[in-house]
C-alpha cells in the first residue's frame, strides 16, 4: 500500500511537472486562500511530533506548527488537513504540490535545501542521532557497538550519519532498513536487531510505544546534528515568509512572555512596545507578510507560544518527558532565537 502510494505520488509528480505551466511566486498562497485550508504533510505516527489520537486527530509539535500557519492565514487553526507520509514519499508529495507544507521531523541539509526544489523555513526542533539499546546487552556507550545489527528507517539522514560514525570509529555493523518507524521498533523488540537508531526525540517516542519501555536505554552519545524543521517549495517567497515567520512569532511570543492565556488581554492593554508590535497593536507588520493584523494573536490564542506547544507535546507531563535542552530560548541557555518583528 505504501509502495503504491509512493509510486502514485511519483507518477503524479511526473505528470504534474509534465503538463503544468511554470509556477510563479505567490501561487501557493493564492491557491490556499482559494481552497480555504492548508494541506500539511506529517509523519505516519511519531509520538510528540505527529501522531493520531484515539479519535484520529493529529497531535504533536509538527502538527501544531501547521495549525499555527492556518491560524495566521485564516484566523482559524482548524483549517488544516493532514496527509500522513512515510520517509520515502515526503519529498515527492511536496514537490508535486500534493501538500503545501511538509512538517515531518525532516532534517535540514544542504542537498535537500538546494537540489530538490525545496526550502527549509526554520528549525522546529534541534535534534541529533542516538541509539536505543536493550539493557540486557549491557552496553553503556555507542563505542561498544562493534559488530551490532542496527535497525534504521530507510532513506533518512540517520542511515548516512550512522554509517559515517561507524566508519570514523573503525566499528563494523549490519544495517536493517525499514519503511516505517513502527516496523523498526517491532524488529528491535523481537531481537532481529540489537540497537535502534534514529533522531533522539524519535527514540524517546518509540520507546514509549514499546511493550516494556523500562527495558531499553538511550545511549549517551549524540552522533550528528539533526535540525528538524518545516519545508516548502522553492519559487514561492510569500508562502515561505509566512511559514518562516509563524515559527518566529511563536518563539518571540514565548520570549516576550505572551501565552495563550494572556494574549487577548495583552493585545489591547500592553505598554511594552515589543509586545505591541508583535501583537499588531502597533504598526502594519502583518500586512508585509500578506497576513491579517492580528496574525500573532490568533497563533498564540489558538495554538500557543513555542514553550506551551513544546510542553504540551514533548514536556514533563507527557510520556516522552524531553528536556528543553538545546531547544530552550537563547535567554535560557538554549539556541532557539527568533529575529524581531519590527
Amino acid at each position: 500500500m505504501k509502495m503504491l502510494k509512493s509510486t502514485l505520488a511519483v507518477i503524479s509528480a511526473a505528470t504534474v511537472l509534465g503538463v503544468s505551466s511554470m509556477a510563479h511566486a505567490g501561487a501557493t498562497l493564492d491557491a490556499i486562500q482559494k481552497k480555504g485550508f492548508v494541506q500539511c504533510g506529517v509523519s505516519d505516527g511519531l509520538p510528540g511530533f505527529s501522531v493520531p489520537d484515539a479519535s484520529g486527530k493529529i497531535l504533536g509539535i509538527d502538527a501544531d506548527v501547521c495549525r499555527a500557519v492556518a491560524a495566521a492565514v485564516f484566523g482559524d487553526a482548524t483549517k488544516v488537513k493532514f496527509s500522513q507520509l512515510n520517509a520515502k514519499e515526503r519529498f515527492t508529495a511536496l514537490q508535486s504540490g500534493e501538500i503545501d507544507i511538509l512538517s515531518r521531523n525532516t532534517t535540514w541539509t544542504s542537498s535537500r535545501d538546494a537540489g530538490m526544489g525545496l526550502m527549509f523555513t526554520g528549525v522546529t526542533y534541534y535534534d541529533g542521532v542516538g541509539f536505543l539499546a536493550n539493557k540486557k546487552l549491557g552496553v553503556k556507550s555507542a563505542k561498544e557497538l562493534d559488530g551490532a545489527t542496527i535497525c534504521i528507517q530507510a532513506g533518512t539522514t540517520t542511515e548516512l550519519n550512522v554509517s559515517d560514525y561507524f566508519r570514523a570509529n573503525n566499528l563494523k555493523y549490519t544495517p536493517i532498513t525499514f519503511d516505517t518507524s513502527d516496523e523498526s521498533a517491532k524488529s528491535l523488540e523481537s531481537g532481529r536487531c540489537d540497537v535502534l537508531t534514529s533522531d533522539k526525540s524519535q527514540l524517546y517516542a518509540q520507546r514509549s510505544k514499546l511493550a516494556s519501555p523500562g527495558d531499553y536505554v538511550v545511549l549517551p552519545e549524540t552522533i550528528s546534528k539533526e535540525p528538524l524543521g518545516p519545508v516548502v517549495r522553492k519559487g514561492d517567497e510569500d508562502w515561505f515568509s509566512i511559514v518562516r515567520w509563524t515559527l518566529f512569532a511563536m518563539l518571540n511570543a514565548e520570549e516576550a512572555g505572551v501565552t495563550s492565556k494572556n494574549v487577548v488581554e495583552l493585545s489591547t492593554t500592553t505598554k511594552n512596545p515589543d509586545v505591541a508590535r508583535l501583537l499588531g497593536a502597533d504598526g502594519e507588520y502583518g500586512k508585509d507578510l500578506k497576513l491579517p493584523k492580528d496574525w500573532v494573536v490568533q497563533i498564540v490564542k489558538q495554538v500557543g507560544n513555542y514553550g506551551e506547544v513544546f510542553e504540551k507535546n514533548l514536556g514533563k507531563g507527557t510520556p516522552l518527558a524531553i528536556d528543553r535542552g538545546l531547544n530552550a530560548l537563547w535567554t535560557n541557555g538554549g539556541i532557539q532565537y527568533a529575529p524581531p518583528v519590527r
Binding site: 511526473a14 509556477a23 520515502k88 519529498f91 530538490m116 532513506g155 566508519r167 517491532k186 532481529r192
Partner: protein, 393 residues
C-alpha cells in the same frame, strides 16, 4: 476493359483504402512522437524552473549508507551506481531461487492433486486453496514477523553440528573460501559436464539405433562425482571452511542467509507453487485419456507413462501460463520492501530516491530494469515453447 474492383488507382487518392491506411498511420505516429516530446520537454523545463536537479549525474555520487546483504564487495564510499547493481543482484537472486523451487514444488503438487491416493490428493488441494487465496504481501509478512523474527536470538541459537546456526539473525553456515585446489576443481567440473553431455548423446544414439538401453542418469552422476573427486585428490581440496562463531552481538565469519531473504523466498515459492500446481494439473488433464490407455496397453507403468507420454504433451498447455507465473514471481519480489530486504525497489527506488530526491530518473530506471527482466524471461520461455512444440500431422 473493366478494371477489377479494388485495384489500386493511379496516383495519391484518399478514397484508396491502402493510401488512407498509411496516411492515418503516419499521422498517429507523428502525434504519439509529438506528445512524447512535449511531455519530456515540458518536464525538463519545469524541473529546471523549480530548481529540482535532473539528469543521471547522481549515479556517480558516493552512497554513504550500509547494506545488509551484498553479493559483490561494497563499502559506504561506493557510488549509487554500485548500489543499483547490488539491488539488482539481490532481486535476481530471489527471482532465480524462487523460480526453481516454485517450479519443482508446483509440479509435485500438480501431479499430487491428480493422484488416486485420497490423502495426497486432499492435502494438495488444501495447500493450493489456502495459499492461492492469501495476498502475497501478507504471506511474506507472516513468514517474516511471525516465524523468522520469533526464532531465538543469536546467543540462544539452535546449532547443528556446531556448524549451522539458526536464529533470528538468519541461517549461519561455514563459508567456503577458495583454496589451492579451487581452479583445478572448477576445470574438473567443466570436464565432467562435457563428458556427461557426450555420454548422453552417445547413449541416445545407440538406443535409437539398436534399442539397447543405458543407465544415463547413474553414469552421469558417477562422472560428476568421480572426476572432480580425482581433481581434489590430486591438487588438494578446493575450499577450506571458515566457521561462524558467536562473538559479542553476532556471529562472525561464515556465510549468513538473512531472515529477510529466507522469508521472502519461502513466501514467494509457496505462493507461486500453488498457482503452478493448478497450471500443471490443467496441462496434464488436457492430454486425452486415450494416451494413458494406449501407454498402459503397451505395458508402461505409471512413472514412465507420466514422464515419457503425458508430460511432454502437457507441456504445450503448461508453458504459456507458466511464463506468466514466472513474471509474477519476478515482480512480486519487489514486495520485499515491506520487510527490509535490500533488493532493487527498497534500495534504489527507496533509499537512493529519498537521498537524492530525483524521483523521475530513479523510478524510470527501476521500471526499465523490471521490464528487461520480464521480457528476458518471456523470450526464454517462448524459445523453449517453440523447441518442444508438437508437430501435428
Amino acid at each position: 476493359m473493366q478494371k477489377p474492383i479494388g485495384a489500386p488507382k493511379k496516383g495519391f487518392s484518399l478514397s484508396d483504402p491502402r493510401v488512407r491506411g498509411w496516411v492515418f498511420q503516419v499521422i498517429t505516429i507523428a502525434a504519439v512522437v509529438a506528445l512524447g516530446w512535449f511531455l519530456f520537454d515540458n518536464t525538463q523545463t519545469n524541473l529546471q524552473h523549480r530548481g529540482i536537479t535532473s539528469g543521471f549525474g547522481f549515479l556517480d555520487r558516493s552512497a554513504g549508507f550500509g547494506i545488509a546483504q551484498h553479493l559483490i564487495d561494497y563499502t559506504e564510499s561506493d557510488t549509487y551506481a554500485r548500489v543499483f547493481v547490488i539491488g539488482l543482484l539481490n532481486t535476481l537472486l530471489v527471482t532465480v531461487i524462487g523460480l526453481v523451487l516454485a517450479t519443482l514444488l508446483g509440479f509435485i503438487l500438480g501431479v499430487a492433486r491428480l493422484s488416486s491416493n485420497w490423502m495426497i490428493n486432499k492435502l494438495a488441494t488444501v495447500y493450493v486453496e489456502t495459499f492461492r487465496n492469501i495476498p502475497p504481501l501478507l504471506q511474506i509478512l507472516f513468514w517474516y514477523f511471525a516465524v523468522f523474527l520469533n526464532l531465538p536470538g543469536p546467543r540462544a541459537a539452535h546449532g547443528l553440528f556446531d556448524m549451522f546456526y539458526f536464529s533470528s539473525r538468519g541461517l549461519n553456515m561455514p563459508a567456503a573460501i577458495p583454496a589451492a585446489g579451487a581452479w583445478p576443481f572448477v576445470i574438473a567440473v567443466v570436464v565432467a559436464i562435457v563428458a556427461i553431455v557426450l555420454m548422453s548423446r552417445w547413449a541416445t544414439k545407440r538406443f535409437e539405433e539398436t534399442g539397447v538401453p543405458f543407465h544415463k542418469f547413474w553414469a552421469g552422476l558417477a562422472l560428476l562425482i568421480v572426476i572432480p573427486a580425482l581433481s581434489a585428490l590430486l591438487f588438494g581440496p578446493p575450499v577450506h571452511w571458515e566457521f561462524a562463531e558467536l562473538k559479542g552481538f553476532n556471529f562472525v565469519g561464515g556465510w549468513v542467509l538473512i531472515p529477510e531473504l529466507l522469508a521472502l523466498t519461502l513466501a514467494l515459492t509457496i505462493y507461486t507453487a500453488a498457482f503452478i500446481a493448478e497450471i500443471v494439473r490443467s496441462g496434464i488433464k488436457s492430454v486425452s485419456h486415450g494416451q494413458t490407455e494406449a501407454a498402459r496397453s503397451l505395458g508402461l507403468r505409471n512413472g514412465p507413462t507420466l514422464r515419457k507420454v503425458i508430460i511432454p504433451q502437457a507441456l504445450r498447455v503448461i508453458i504459456p501460463p507458466l511464463t506468466s507465473q514466472y513474471l509474477n514471481l519476478a515482480k512480486n519480489s519487489s514486495l520485499a520492501a515491506g520487510i527490509g530486504y535490500p533488493e532493487m525497489v527498497s534500495l534504489f527506488a527507496g533509499t537512493v530516491l529519498n537521498q537524492t530526491g530525483q524521483a523521475i530518473e530513479v523510478i524510470a530506471i527501476t521500471m526499465s530494469v523490471y521490464l528487461v527482466i520480464s521480457i528476458s524471461i518471456s523470450l526464454l520461455m517462448n524459445w523453449y515453447n517453440k523447441r518442444i512444440a508438437l508437430i501435428e500431422r
